[in-house]
Symmetry: C2
Subunit: 579 residues, 2 copies
């Protein structure tokens, strides 16, 4: 490509509504332009990167045996009514009427349409397994679209849907997609982690998110640097930090802790480690109209946080809410701040986090304002508690796989693989005739990749003060050739054209900047756009047989023999793409 036949729309300033670096840089690099909130034009530079992401995604989906098709954006409400999501889905689902007043939606996802295809096309176990995918434009009417392509309303996704005859088949299909996603993000040249997202209703880990690691990510990820383990902090198992409970050594003492309502204050006041304190969290569950609620006391070590998702999965706590202050006063005889399991006014159900359950000589609230109880021990002072994992993991915790210690990082979700099971096939009667001749619901999986989001995530991970730093695989161009004084020097023109032609022949995606701009303008544009390799062709260098090369992350240029420059760069790019 020659720059004069292309469109470069770089800007000096980022728009006022751009809050994060990827949004700012994508606008400044001329990749996207806002049309309305969360709706963008993809300008030529941006579209080139999108197409490269799509191409890698398609190659790996095809390699994994998935079959491409294309479903519509506009979907009839009937299908969503059948699945139940017409009611369940919030206002992110854009609903509208056509000219005949029939209800439609703009598809935010395609489970309903693909399930409709499957129930019509797949009749027999002989047609299974099958995995259909598409690369398609979706719409989610976000309440607050922001961050450019990271949380847009109209965006491009790859979504795949697998159909299997049984759960074992689903697990095989799921693993294929998991592996394909691993190859995709590896080839994209991104630092990423596959993160267990929950423990699934089907058994095993039914869902993984693929996160690009970036400090600006929205999600906290717990991972083990010395093993493969990674999970959303909320989904990671927290092991007990005390292997075995120690014997009681202190007497039970009610101690004045004036004004110390928080564990940190208590620890400081008493001169003990925070890890000796236990915090009390009070939940309530309803027992029907007129009946009084059940009150639950959850005990966590002072430095730990409640994981509400884990709590909600415990027996009896499915629909918990936090207790009101009035309930706390009624059950504990005191307002929040100095609560504890000993001497409550009315009976409460106590659940101890698995770490708390192994503590001894610990400190809890005394159910009296400005007092705590020290030297508390299970069995001696309190009945043995119900024990459960109800906390978030922390940096330094043992990895649940036993292979090291957890660290925490932030990530941007760019992919998701999910075992749906029979949720949609049951709701929409997507059955097949099994080998036994009986109709059975298909086992479904769904697998998404946010194509446009990947661009934003890649930038959040790879940028500097000059602009974007693209991995070769998704750079709008792999190399830019910048001739110095193209219109003045025949020598420069000749070599620029030669190097350009050689790169094209070598299959390199090269742009020749033949705009005749000053070097400063050229360099600034291509650094902002983030082209990973640059060749500068100037008369002075050529007279010494040299062409200047600079990688986008290099702090200084190096000189290459003019005749070999194209091949050297082509080789660098091939090596990078071979990831």
């Amino acid at each position: 490509m020659k720059a004069t036949r292309f469109f470069i729309g770089t800007l000096k300033e980022a728009p006022a509504d751009a809050e994060i670096v990827s949004h700012k840089l994508m606008v400044r690099a001329g990749m996207i332009r806002r049309v309305a909130g969360g709706i963008y034009n993809y300008l030529p530079v941006g579209l080139r990167s999108i197409r490269k992401v799509e191409a890698i995604v398609r190659e790996e989906m095809n390699r994994a045996g998935a079959i491409e098709l294309l479903m519509p954006s506009v979907q009839p409400a009937e299908l969503w009514q059948e699945s139940g999501r017409w009611e369940q889905y919030g206002p992110e689902l854009l609903r509208f009427k056509d000219r005949k007043q029939s209800d439609f939606v703009m598809g935010p996802t395609h489970e309903e349409v693909i399930t409709d295809i499957a129930r019509n096309q797949i009749k027999s176990y002989r047609q299974l397994p099958v995995n259909f995918y598409q690369v398609q434009t979706k719409f989610r009417d976000e309440i607050r679209p922001r961050f450019g392509v990271m949380r847009g309303r109209e965006f491009i996704m790859k979504d795949a849907y697998s159909f299997d005859k049984d759960v074992d088949g689903l697990k095989v299909s799921y693993q294929k997609m998991y592996d394909a996603y691993t190859r995709i993000f590896t080839r994209l040249g991104l630092e990423f982690r596959a993160v267990a997202a929950d423990n699934g209703s089907i058994g095993g880990s039914g869902s993984h998110e693929f996160h690009v690691i970036a400090e600006t990510g929205e999600d906290d990820i717990a991972y083990c640097p010395t093993s493969d383990f990674a999970a959303n902090v909320e989904a990671a198992d927290a092991l007990p930090l005390i292997a075995q409970r120690g014997a009681a050594t202190e007497p039970l003492v009610k101690t004045a802790t004036p004004g110390a309502a928080k564990c940190e204050q208590v620890a400081e006041l008493l001169g003990i480690p925070l890890e000796r304190t236990v915090k009390s969290i009070v939940l309530a569950t309803e027992n029907g109209e007129g009946a009084e609620p059940t009150i639950w006391l959850l005990l966590l070590r002072g430095d730990h946080d409640l994981n509400e998702i884990k709590a909600g999965k415990l027996e009896g706590l499915g629909n918990f809410r936090f207790a009101t202050e009035a309930e706390i006063v009624e059950w504990f005889g005191t307002p929040p701040g100095y609560l504890g399991p000993i001497g409550t006014k009315k009976p409460v159900k106590v659940i101890a986090d698995s770490t708390v359950a192994n503590m001894s000589d610990f400190v809890v609230g005394a159910n009296e304002v400005d007092f705590h109880t020290t030297g508390v021990n299970w069995g001696r002072d309190l009945p043995e508690p119900v024990v459960a994992d109800i906390r978030n993991v922390k940096k330094g915790d043992p990895s649940p796989d036993g292979k090291g210690v957890l660290d925490i990082c932030r990530g941007i979700e760019v992919g998701h693989v999910f075992q749906l099971g029979t949720k949609y096939s049951d709701a929409m009667s997507a059955n097949f005739l099994g080998e036994n001749g009986k109709p059975q619901p298909m086992q479904m999986g769904c697998y998404g990749i946010g194509v446009t989001r990947i661009l934003g995530a890649a930038i959040e991970q790879n940028f500097d003060e000059k602009g974007i730093i693209w991995p070769e695989s998704i750079a709008p161009f792999e190399v830019v050739v910048c001739p110095m004084g193209l219109d003045r020097s025949e020598l420069v023109r000749e070599h620029a054209e030669r190097v350009y032609d050689e790169l094209v022949k070598a299959g390199v995606d090269v742009i020749l900047d033949d705009r005749g701009e000053r070097p400063g303008v050229m360099f600034a544009d291509w650094e902002l756009i983030g082209v990973p390799h640059r060749l500068v062709i100037g008369e002075r260098g050529l007279k010494e047989g040299k062409i200047e090369y600079q990688g986008r992350r290099d702090t200084e240029a190096t000189l290459l023999a003019a005749e070999e420059a194209a091949q050297v760069v082509a080789q660098k790019i091939r090596a990078a793409l071979a990831r």
Copy 2:
């Protein structure tokens, strides 16, 4: 591709709502499935053909210097209000509100969005010309979606928009697109014509439609088999069929023609050729409230039809309507059926078609029921008329380019190139600074290709009782390898795999039917799907060193040397694609 790793969804029966052959065959071949009226899933077979069309379109657009970008489906109403189309566009424009009650449309076309891009990105004449294009999903809320992909609601289009600094530049950009479209439809392997669509407001032919020739087409096209001339029948210039007016030889005679209200009846009754008769058409134009209208009498030869578009372009006739019967009686003294230019009751403005103007001794109504006047001659019996081309061309007419005789065929519009001029740049202030330093509106052109519609058009042109007959360029597969008894014969399996591998290596898009179906099922499926080449590999043939080849249009198979079969077929395909 191997069939067992692909999805084939052929059907024995076409759906009840399929009226035309392409719709029936696309459903039966498993290319499309209906989701709602005019909204389809593109199943894997269909998507492969779509992608091939898109690839050819992109190659030729890029070659012509157009630059790809991507605009959104969902567009804010503000842009449409600026252009004026928010009011002008009918209910085909799907309008809806988002969750914040802002107005949006689903883009049926993108003039507004691209003009918005241009006015923001293009500041100087130095940035012109530029041509942006996209391949994108559009939505038109058709009142009666039908004919499958031919008149769908959601469909894929390639749309391009050129921006120039002056009309001369626009004409150059237009010609480039015209040439690119010619290459595109040639490469697609379709019989097509570029058809002048109107005479444009900019001068020259401002618009051409590209039609795929098919008997089932919706449009009548006049074309000259011995030259390049082609135009929509309504837009084609009709030359006078009589070069010079003959002298008057007959007297003016009022003749009884009882019951002969139509020219055909008059000609039969009087025993004269229809070409001697002249029909009268009465139009009216208003002169403001209270004033009586102007009445116009348009004269056409008995075998010709009025072209209302041409009439509407004549001075004074811009807002014509047909006269009422009461007006006719008032001005002519008689009800319709026997009208003529001689002896009207009140004055009328006479316009003669250019053929009528050169007639002599002709027959017209006598303005009296059951009477005509024969031997009518201009000058002698009537003042010289205003002369204009107001008729549709007919088969056998001279071609307006003087290079032959017109024929009429039917066509399906699949592309349109259009000189917009400054319609949108004026309305939306898309100005640039000219060389003189002054702001000027950009000259725009727009250029559309109906990607999904092309599939339907190609089928309407190429099918037989067995199914579709694809041109190689857009066939879902170029060749199918059908092994006979794959599971029984090791010899067959070996050769099938070898031939398949050779074809893949030769760059041929081949599918190996390894499903283990019976020959009849295999053949019927691939004939229905329309794969243009077939190799049948059976034990009997192999024992004689032969593989059976049959082209989709061939009535009989031919035998190829088993070792050469792949190369022979690859060569046939290369030759076809080299169009």
